[in-house]
């Protein structure tokens, strides 16, 4: 057990200062403003600068392969958060690039990976379908072999970042009559292929995601990842990563659970509320002097710290649930001015708590709904058995 400050060598300290300065110079107010305006959670200029400075390769590669040491990786991670670097598209890119490295042909790896490290190529996830929800195995998007290539038809929801990406990691159905886990084939589809239409969709938290339509999209067989109908093998690892069922690190240089970016927005809101309630009004009265404010703030703080402490998939549920549970209280104690969003004149906490409130519903569905993860905890850690559902009904259309 150890929660101490990490003692840095002179070299690592120099690295931290350099990274901090670099990030400060890159992530300008303009980047932040553009990010809020577009909801992209991605900035091409910043991303290309990361690539040019070598940070993308250092972050992606393992230490033995020339990547960051454990301690520098952790420094980099924390400093990026401190600087509020837009993060979502690099997250999907790094994850999909692992599948390309593992399952892609040498030719495909050469086409994609060097440009992933330079920042020119970004990758997104084509999992969820309009009718599919969290169960990605119920895939209706079809891929049909046609000579040396494939024809793809269908549509995907929540392909976040597609408009800033060059390829999509696409789940397709190649054997509609087979059991669902033996019917999937994965492709890395170039997004400039004819027949792809990307339609933006803004979400209630201010982010942008996309619906992507695929109409007779022709994809060369070299873009296939893994064997035909063995998509599940390819997907298992990235899904596990996204689920956050990851063992704790012995050196403590790792997040306690997944969703720490999202949890960070909650921590920021709580800390802002703490700062706000200590400010005296012209008569010298502080919000904190109201005992009901102190009680609600203390309770919210306590619940947040419990959520930040929960490991693995427990943590991801705790974080999403706690964001939902405490954001209304945080808003209440700050009063009517907590209704004003970021940048608005007189906003109580610069829109911190109201953003957590709008963000929380999304955090509870990323990479699977809260129900999916409660099922997993029940089935795999408490041994409660596979959930029972009522018998399938014939769909009436």
């Amino acid at each position: 057990m150890d929660f101490s400050r990490v003692e840095l060598s002179d070299d690592d300290e120099a690295f931290r200062d350099e990274a901090r300065n670099f990030l400060k110079a890159q992530v300008t107010e303009e980047v932040g403003r553009r990010d809020r305006e577009t909801g992209d959670n991605f900035d091409e200029g910043v991303h290309l600068a990361f690539g040019a400075a070598g940070y993308l390769a250092l972050e992606w590669k393992s230490e033995s392969d020339g990547g960051f040491s454990r301690v520098r990786r952790r420094i980099w991670e924390q400093e990026k958060r401190r600087a509020h670097v837009p993060w979502v598209t690099w997250g999907t890119t790094a994850m999909v690039a692992r599948s390309v490295a593992k399952f892609g042909s040498a030719e495909l790896q050469n086409e994609v990976l060097p440009r992933v490290f330079s920042g020119e190529v970004r990758l997104c996830l084509g999992y969820t379908e309009p009718e599919g929800g969290s169960d990605i195995a119920t895939c209706k998007t079809r891929a049909v072999r046609d000579g040396g290539s494939w024809l793809i038809n269908g549509s995907k929801m929540f392909t976040t970042g597609a408009h800033n990406c060059q390829y999509v990691f696409l789940i397709t159905n190649t054997a509609p009559d087979s059991p669902k886990h033996k019917s999937l084939t994965m492709f890395l589809v170039p997004l400039n292929s004819p027949g792809i239409e990307i339609q933006g969709l803004r979400t209630v938290d201010g982010d942008r995601t996309n619906i992507v339509y695929y109409s007779d999209v022709r994809v060369d067989d070299k873009y296939r990842l893994g064997e035909v109908n063995a998509g599940w093998t390819v997907l298992r690892e990235p899904l596990n990563t996204e689920h956050g069922a990851v063992a704790a690190a012995a050196d403590g240089l790792q997040d306690t659970s997944i969703m720490m970016h999202q949890a960070g927005s909650m921590a920021t809101a709580v800390d802002k509320a703490v700062a706000r309630v200590t400010q005296p009004d012209p008569s010298g009265r502080r919000l904190l002097d109201d005992q009901s404010v102190a009680y609600r703030l203390g309770r919210s703080f306590a619940r947040m710290e419990a959520a930040l402490s929960a490991p693995s998939i427990y943590g991801r549920v705790a974080i999403a649930q706690t964001m939902r549970d405490i954001s209304p209280d945080l808003m209440d104690i700050l009063g009517a001015a907590s209704a004003l969003p970021f940048g608005t004149d007189g906003a109580a906490d610069d829109g911190g708590a109201e953003h957590v409130y709008r963000f929380a519903p999304l955090v509870g569905i990323y990479g699977g709904t809260l129900e999916v993860f409660r099922n997993m905890i029940g089935q795999y850690t408490l041994g409660l058995g596979k959930p029972n559902y009522s018998a399938p009904v014939k769909k009436v259309s």
């Binding site: 057990m1 009680y295 203390g298 703080f301 419990a306 402490s309 129900e371 409660r374 408490l382």
Partner: protein, 358 residues
């Protein structure tokens, strides 16, 4: 607070921690089955179990080496507390060691000037204290007041040790604790053990430790009542399927597992900071308590509910957990006071000029 400060987040237990944990788990499993818990309900205290526990070194471990103790860390103590909660052990270990550690920190434990408390260290004499944050006037409920030889309370800026010729009478209570109304004015002897700001700060530290260890006990309590309910649900069928496979049952059980994991890690992190950097995150101990006090009651109620008519039976283990989940944290007064304390600590930190925003 700098949320991006580079600190380790290592919640793992060492070999020594694991040995300690398994020794106490085994001890309570052997010596404190649910029948023992039930049998002790009239008095709220199993003297035989207490003597065995003391013989194992559970009280001396908690004291500093300067007082003849083993200088265990609070992290160590949370491991023992969790097993007490898991087994619902009818022993006043948390109150006793918090009071004894307080006396030790005030230099009032068993040296030449305090020979009267010489048998407190090994648990032969019992120490109790007023676990409320908001200092009470007059008669007040002391969680282990009916069995204690020494009762420590605050009076203004004094820390006072009270003794009674006849111990105060135990009152019936939902936590099945050896609780009593104690009127300091009626004590047969009143000794001022310390006075002033520093003494009050040490009393506050004892209150924080009590909350920390009670939170740890509630983690064990919730985990055990969850486990019993889960076993029941796996073996109870409705319409041909185990009720554990219904989300109306499995999701509340999953929530309990999340409470255990989050509450346990928070408790241990809070303990680590009190052990190693006590001024850095002092709000974590009352935070763990606020969280577990609220969640324990919800979890214990759901565990009873899952077992339906069998759960509500007075003989069911689930009902034994239900009453203690409420009664143990409440013995320290309104848990909301701890929530306010959390807010005061973090607000004071934010408005302090030393806060370095890097």
């Amino acid at each position: 607070m700098d949320r991006y400060e580079l600190r380790r987040l290592d919640y793992s237990l060492s070999e020594d921690h694991l040995d300690l944990q398994s020794a106490y788990k085994q001890f309570f499993k052997t010596h404190c089955p649910i029948e023992t818990v039930r049998a002790a309900e009239p008095s709220g205290f199993d003297k035989n179990l207490w003597e065995r526990l003391c013989a194992m070194g559970a009280t001396t471990m908690a004291l500093p080496e300067s007082c003849g103790g083993d200088g265990a860390t609070l992290v160590d103590l949370t491991l023992v507390a969790e097993e007490i909660g898991r087994s619902l052990a009818p022993v006043p270990w948390i109150d006793h060691i918090c009071a004894a550690r307080l006396l030790a920190s005030l230099g009032a434990l068993g040296d030449e000037t305090a020979s009267e408390t010489a048998s407190v260290a090994d648990g032969e004499q019992l120490a109790a204290f007023d676990a409320r944050i908001d200092s009470a006037q007059g008669a007040r409920l002391i969680p282990t007041g009916s069995i204690a030889d020494h009762i420590i309370v605050r009076d203004g800026d004094q820390i006072v040790r009270l003794t009674f010729g006849t111990r105060p009478a135990k009152v019936d209570n939902i936590g099945r604790l050896p609780m009593a109304w104690v009127d300091p004015g009626a004590a047969d002897a009143r000794t001022v053990v310390a006075q002033g700001c520093d003494a009050l700060a040490k009393y506050q530290r004892a209150l924080d430790e009590w909350r920390l260890l009670t939170a740890a006990a509630l983690v064990g309590l919730v985990e055990e009542t969850m486990t019993i309910a889960a076993e029941f649900a796996k073996n109870r069928y409705t319409l041909g399927v185990p009720i554990s496979t219904l989300q109306g049952i499995s999701h509340p059980l999953a929530n309990m597992a999340i409470t255990v994991q989050g509450g346990r890690n928070l408790t241990r992190r809070a303990a680590w900071f009190l052990d190693n950097e006590p001024d850095v995150r002092p709000e974590l101990a009352p935070s763990a308590f606020v969280f577990m006090a609220e969640e324990a009651a919800k979890a214990a109620t759901m565990a009873v509910h899952i077992q339906g008519g069998l759960g509500v039976s007075a003989e069911a283990a689930a009902s034994a957990y239900l009453v203690r989940a409420r009664g143990w944290p409440l013995a320290g007064g309104d848990p909301g006071t701890s929530a306010k304390r959390v807010a005061e600590i973090v607000a004071a930190r934010e408005s302090s000029p030393q806060v370095a925003q890097v």
